[in-house]
């Protein structure tokens, strides 16, 4: 069955994806996503009711190590990439109102 995605859903996905699409882009994305989902629906032909979801092919568990700093202070070099910086910190727009 053909998938239909509402404008509300597209708006919601845009919020999750942190993307601001133009109206034209939004319509194109909607069309692309609908045809992708139609194709992905092929998976419903498979009975997977008795199959566990496999996120990794190997049984990878949490891998722990001691929390020891090994790479020293890379502060200056790291901040050199910042679009805006001040006093060894990244500058961002105000996030909390007074």
């Amino acid at each position: 069955m053909a998938n239909v995605i509402s404008d509300e859903t597209m708006g919601y996905v845009g919020i999750l994806a942190k993307l601001e699409l133009s109206e034209e882009e939004k319509q194109a994305a909607k069309k692309d996503m609908e045809s992708m989902l139609d194709y992905i629906d092929k998976l419903n032909e498979l009975d997977t009711s008795k199959v566990e979801p496999m996120s990794h092919v190997f049984p990878v568990k949490n891998v722990f190590r001691e929390d020891v700093v090994e790479n020293g202070d890379g502060g200056e070099a790291t901040l050199a990439n910042a679009p805006e910086k001040r006093d060894r910190a990244f500058v961002v727009p105000k996030t909390v109102d007074q």
């Binding site: 859903t9 919601y12 996905v13 845009g14 999750l16 994806a17 942190k18 993307l19 601001e20 699409l21 882009e25 994305a29 692309d32 996503m33 045809s35 992708m36 989902l37 194709y39 992905i40 629906d41 092929k42 998976l43 419903n44 032909e45 498979l46 997977t48 199959v51 566990e52 979801p53 496999m54 996120s55 990794h56 092919v57 190997f58 990878v60 949490n62 891998v63 190590r65 790479n71 890379g74 070099a77 790291t78 050199a80 990439n81 910042a82 679009p83 805006e84 990244f90 961002v92 727009p93 105000k94 996030t95």
Partner: protein, 487 residues
């Protein structure tokens, strides 16, 4: 003969014997790049000064006996999604247009320890999302066999650079076929190792459960040698596997007697170009004549690999690419109102259409209400695909098939229909889903003169089986240099 015609291992031997200096080899590669880039455009960044300085340094280390390995002094090109300290790393995206990493990827570090000279960074599909290298924000790479055709992708720059003989070998990365498919299109050899074999530390992540770094070179000997050099257990990559059986060059043996090779019937059906099919079956025949036991079998589930792959890869991408927000590095939009607007505008202006498409799809399949139906369903399908391969490897040492259903399409033909482009990954994506090693190597040309790639797939940790089969097959052929290489 031209220096750049040599394989990496051949050059390494000549350097060791004092017949060629590292500076000569590096200069020759830089000259080749200068002569060919206008036609091929394999590179995003060329580091002439850094490479020449490094060449001097490496020569000293060879002369004083510090560096003795087979790759000491051999110039290499690195895919632009691998971080290189102090050298621009863009992932072929506008959002990383000015990003200078503060550290080097572990795989590249391993190459440097082996004496590699880095020439520069190769073009790719933006964030490795694409099959043609046309989604790059920095121009299109052309196929050295015919510059009206794509080199494949996403490691198109690395494979084109090797085929055009602008470097002696390259590193690529493979999430759904991104080493094997462009290797096939460019007539070179590339390996995607078992998941966890090469550290992903410093690889800018696309689909973390699928991504692996691997070598691209002129032949199997080079690929085995390079893979041996970049393989390491790395505690900085929590999915890194402690392996012992990593002396891959020991498998360079011209003997396939008794080796059991299976050809999935499902890989030979609808959608496969008849010329590709003929070449693949001829390669299988050659291996049979050398003593391998070759038979066809039903792998099953092949048509479910692409939908499962695109759900999983898009989901992981939407999460991995959340870090590009205009705060710590890369592009930030000029005008904005508040933090969220800055995130949104920076990302919307910084990412290209294919990346946005996959982030949107990934965000959708992970959103509440759709997570079970799409994401978990894809992970369950992945488990079934893994089971199908497990069953096949109970019977066979190696699975043989095409790397791609066609040879390289023309530039501009693929992007208009994303779904059609995705279908080109049909023979490669399941290998990533199941974590298996795979190799693509040339097995002929089609009537248009474009290379055809043979794919050999092994069970997890059985790289040696595919290296042995590939090496034995390769002994029956001579390496064909691309027209651009011979210019």
């Amino acid at each position: 003969m031209k220096l750049l015609e040599l394989t990496a291992v051949e050059l390494g031997k000549k350097i060791k014997a004092g017949e060629v200096t590292v500076e000569e080899a590096t200069r020759a590669a830089l000259d080749a790049i200068k002569a060919k880039e206008e036609k091929v455009h394999s590179f995003v960044t060329i580091d002439e000064e850094g490479a020449m300085n490094r060449a001097k340094e490496v020569q000293k280390l060879i002369d004083d006996g510090t560096l003795t390995g087979p790759l000491a002094g051999v110039p290499v090109a690195i895919k632009d999604n691998l971080c290189t300290k102090g050298m621009l790393t863009t992932c072929s995206s506008k959002i990383l247009y000015n990003f200078i990493p503060t550290y080097t990827a572990e795989a590249v570090l391993n190459l440097e320890k082996a004496g590699a000279v880095i020439l520069g960074k190769t073009n790719m599909d933006e964030f490795a999302m694409g099959s043609t290298t046309e989604t790059s924000a920095y121009g299109v790479t052309k196929n050295p066999w015919n510059t009206e055709h794509v080199p494949g992708g996403s490691s198109g720059g690395s494979c084109a650079a090797v085929a055009a003989e602008e470097c002696f070998y390259a590193l690529g990365s493979d999430t759904g076929g991104s080493i094997r498919q462009p290797s096939s299109f460019c007539g070179v050899t590339g390996i995607k190792p078992t998941y966890g074999t090469v550290s992903r530390y410093g690889l800018i992540a696309y689909g973390s459960s699928l991504d692996q770094i691997g070598p691209v070179a002129k032949d199997v000997t080079d690929c085995a040698t390079i893979l041996e050099a970049i393989t390491s257990y790395d505690k900085k990559d929590s999915t890194s596997v402690k392996r012992e059986d990593t002396d891959f060059t020991s498998a360079l043996v011209d003997d396939v007697k008794g080796m059991k090779i299976g050809i999935p019937r499902d890989y030979l059906g609808e959608g496969l170009d008849p010329e590709v099919k003929t070449a693949i079956l001829a390669a299988a025949k050659t291996l049979e004549e050398k003593g391998a036991i070759v038979e066809e079998f039903d792998l099953s589930l092949v048509e479910y690999a692409i939908p499962a792959y695109y759900v999983i890869a898009a989901a992981e991408a939407s999460s991995n690419l959340a870090r590009f927000d205009g705060v710590k590095y890369g592009y930030r939009t000029k005008e904005y109102e508040g933090l969220h607007n800055m995130y949104k505008k920076s990302r919307s202006e910084g990412f290209g259409p294919e990346v946005k498409r996959r982030i949107m799809l990934g965000s959708f399949v992970l959103s509440s209400g759709y997570y079970d139906a799409y994401y978990l369903k894809a992970l369950r399908t992945k488990a079934l695909i893994k089971q199908a391969f497990d069953k096949a490897f109970e019977k066979y040492d190696v699975i043989l098939g095409p790397a791609a259903p066609t040879t390289a399409p023309k530039l501009g033909e693929s992007l208009s229909d994303p779904l059609k482009m995705y279908l080109g990954d049909v023979y490669t994506v399941s290998v990533n889903l199941a974590g298996l090693p795979g190799i693509s190597l040339p097995c002929g040309l089609d009537s248009k003169g474009l290379p055809i790639g043979l794919q050999l797939i092994g069970d997890c940790f059985k790289e040696k089986n595919i290296i042995r089969a590939a090496y034995a097959y390769e002994q029956t052929r001579t390496y064909q240099h691309s027209p651009i290489a011979q210019d």
